[in-house]
Symmetry: C2
Subunit: 154 residues, 2 copies
């Protein structure tokens, strides 16, 4: 399944390894980058365009957690799991900085399904999400462990 507009809520029984979901687009600008960073990642390369030029990033870059937070929003809007997107954890890596006026979108894929042994009503779904920009360059590669329930029967 590849879809950017699935509306039906999906239970554990409804999904399979390889299922894919594509999000809508999100435009990020310098003002948003600086606002997020001043609250959560106050470092000059995220808050000060001039200072950022002399930094590791050679120009203003979004906090990686800003990129991840936008990714989460795009996942919530595009992966229609019943009960919502409930994460137990995950891992991620940043491949390239997110820059002012990038337009982000997310391609998510089910990579593993692990039924719970102790709780037969649910399982863990491993979903890999690539966050891409308008040139289809990968900015972030993340894999989340999501809790998903089976359809209740009876």
């Amino acid at each position: 399944m590849t879809s950017s507009a699935v509306s039906q809520a999906l239970y554990l029984d409804d999904i399979a390894v390889g299922d894919e979901f594509v999000s809508g687009r999100y435009h990020i600008d310098a003002e948003q980058i600086m606002a997020f960073a001043s609250q959560f990642d106050p470092q000059p390369f995220h808050t000060d365009p001039e200072a950022a030029k002399q930094s590791f990033f050679q120009g203003l870059a979004a906090s990686g957690w800003h990129t991840m937070s936008i990714t989460m929003r795009l996942i919530v809007e595009s992966v229609p799991f019943a009960g919502g997107i409930v994460g137990a954890g995950g891992e991620l890596s940043w491949r390239r900085p997110t820059r002012p006026d990038d337009v982000l979108y997310v391609r998510s894929k089910v990579v593993e399904i692990i039924p719970s042994r102790s709780k037969p009503d649910r399982g863990i779904v491993m979903v890999q999400s690539l966050t891409l920009n308008q040139r289809d360059e990968v900015l972030q590669d993340s894999t989340a462990k999501l809790v998903l329930f089976r359809k209740q029967v009876g």
Copy 2:
């Protein structure tokens, strides 16, 4: 080294496995939880206290990415790495939901130091950060891969 107020910038040469850093405290309230979630994780258990009662979380809970973003701020304020906190990636798990009026702090520890083979001026420092609440319950366990430079000589 355990310190909550180190002011000197630390280079790769200055740190050792086992070094610890303790952050200040951060009070999170319901308004902040709903504001973050409405921007980045718009799901009822993060945005609507009434609907949250019937959810998986049994009450309003912060987005895990909000907990992570606050953790990042506390790390930036408490881990005085020269050149700042520059992450290549990491992994995390959520142990318990972050609730309105929790007071968070972060204990960070250097768990591994990996000198770069190709770039002798830098290395990767693996830092594990536990995010705790006012009852010292672990809310989040995260490990970040941070880029850190050596002192420039000559």
